[in-house]
Symmetry: C2
Subunit: 296 residues, 2 copies
């Protein structure tokens, strides 16, 4: 009987889902409380695969059919137009459809015309951060395969700039440790960062020098990887200077990468708040659900 | 009898081999004349695999055993030290050993201490160009997965600079055409080149914008690929400016890539000679063989 009562009290009402850089995270929700969470890696990138992967991921939870799903970061389909900045950080509506038995609510991404930019998922993390930090103005940096710097003011995303830094680190660092945060050689990172920041145009040449040092056996893999990250993050900071110089800053992203960005910014005398990316994503999805009036 | 006489006259005396960016080229040589040639793609990168691949590649030629092999571009083994620039473009000695029945003569690469650089194969193409163009002084640009700019004077390689441009184009252009030279959108290339050259520090940001335009369906694949090549070659030209501004220039490399570099240089008012990379490689291997006194 006690078991039954528990089941009655803890009733999954909807699913919060984030699809972000080949990771699918799902939270089984009652109101704004997460009862269960699950994560899986996936290389797929379209909506049908998303629904398949979601079905498999939640199968062990034995959830009722037909649950509403609020999803951030879904790859664009022609009927889900991204909103154009400047605009509210929080989406005021979602695109709803039924798919494989789910009542699917898709949170649109953000786009920018010049320079061309597209966020798919980062916008909801930003919305989450703003829902927990009312009246916060400044720049939010979201490291990842594609890093995003978003200028936020009065609840709006004013503009943003993206960089392929994380993806380049992964592609070029294939012979090093898989994660940027293991056995990092801090000195190598700091020197490469400073060098990358001051002469960013030498990027492709520095990468070739690094490759040569590795081929000549002159560099251990962790040091090479630290230098690689330093070179590329340095070049990014050089190009993103207007986004961090003299700004209020928040950084949220995968733990290892976020730490590198925090270190890099602090080396330049720029102080930033670090926020938990998964927590911000969930807060953002909850906030959008409330905003579109499905809070029940 | 006539057949026998032919066989006697056209006698394969040695093999010229170049291992260059995942391609193995072999020429069956009589003196300085190539009687047969064969090429294969390979992803391997050590000397044992080299010998295996070579054995398979020449099997159909029914060659006698124990032939001398002069090989350029072999991945470094600890007993084959690259020579350090500045030094003669032409290697005065090779590292000889017997391997799988071959009398193997390995042409050493070139290295530079600052900035760190390593050539494996490009040095022999340079030696070939100089053997055919006596007293030529200037800069030789060798596009490829890793592009090399080498300052040549009085038969010496004075200094060089390498860039990972070609590899970055391949990695980032995975959704575009495999070859840079198909259906190139010249205008997109020219604009991206000019932009990349004038503000090279924006590289990672431009790559993210390009990705966004592709995701939004705003760019056909060939145009995207042309822009990608323009952005990256533009950044390379910016960093390599001392190597091409006001210099005598020669470009040799894979046809599609070499044409892009020729176009890019000409857009900047820099005129270059284009040379056939395979022909220069073979000329270089022949010249080294003569230089080390094995010309028989």
């Amino acid at each position: 009987m006690k078991g039954d009562r528990m089941a009655e009290v803890k009733q999954v009402e909807w699913l919060a889902v984030e699809w972000f850089e080949h990771r699918l995270s799902v939270w089984a929700m009652q109101g704004s409380t997460a009862l269960e969470a699950a994560v899986c890696a996936t290389s797929a990138a379209d909506e049908d695969t998303f629904v398949d992967t979601l079905t498999q991921l939640i199968a062990p939870l034995n959830l009722p059919a037909g649950l509403p799903v609020f999803a951030a970061g879904l790859p664009g389909r022609s009927d889900v137009s991204p909103r154009t900045v400047p605009c509210d950080a929080m989406a005021a509506e979602t695109v709803a459809r039924t798919s494989a038995g789910f009542e699917l609510h898709i949170i649109p991404g953000l786009r920018q015309h010049s320079p061309s930019g597209l966020m798919q998922g980062a916008e909801t993390r930003i919305a989450g951060f703003l829902s927990l930090n009312k009246d916060w103005d400044g720049v939010i940096c979201l490291p990842g395969a594609t890093s995003v710097w978003a200028q936020v003011s009065a609840g709006e995303v004013v503009s943003f700039q993206s960089f392929l830094t994380g993806e380049l680190i992964d592609m070029l660092g294939a012979d090093g440790p898989a994660e940027v945060d293991t056995a990092l050689d801090d000195t190598a990172f700091d020197e490469a960062l400073s060098d990358g920041l001051s002469r960013p145009e030498r990027l492709a040449g520095r990468l070739a020098s690094l490759r040569a040092d590795r081929a000549l056996g002159a560099l251990p893999a962790p040091t090479a990887h630290a230098r690689l990250a330093g070179i590329l993050i340095g070049a990014e900071l050089a190009a993103a200077r207007p986004y961090w110089l003299g700004q209020s800053l928040a950084v949220m992203g995968p733990e290892g990468q976020a730490s590198l960005y925090m270190r890099a910014l602090s080396q330049q005398g720029a102080m930033a708040t670090q926020a938990d990316a998964a927590r911000m994503a969930l807060a953002g999805i909850c906030a959008v659900r409330r905003a579109v009036g499905n809070a029940g």
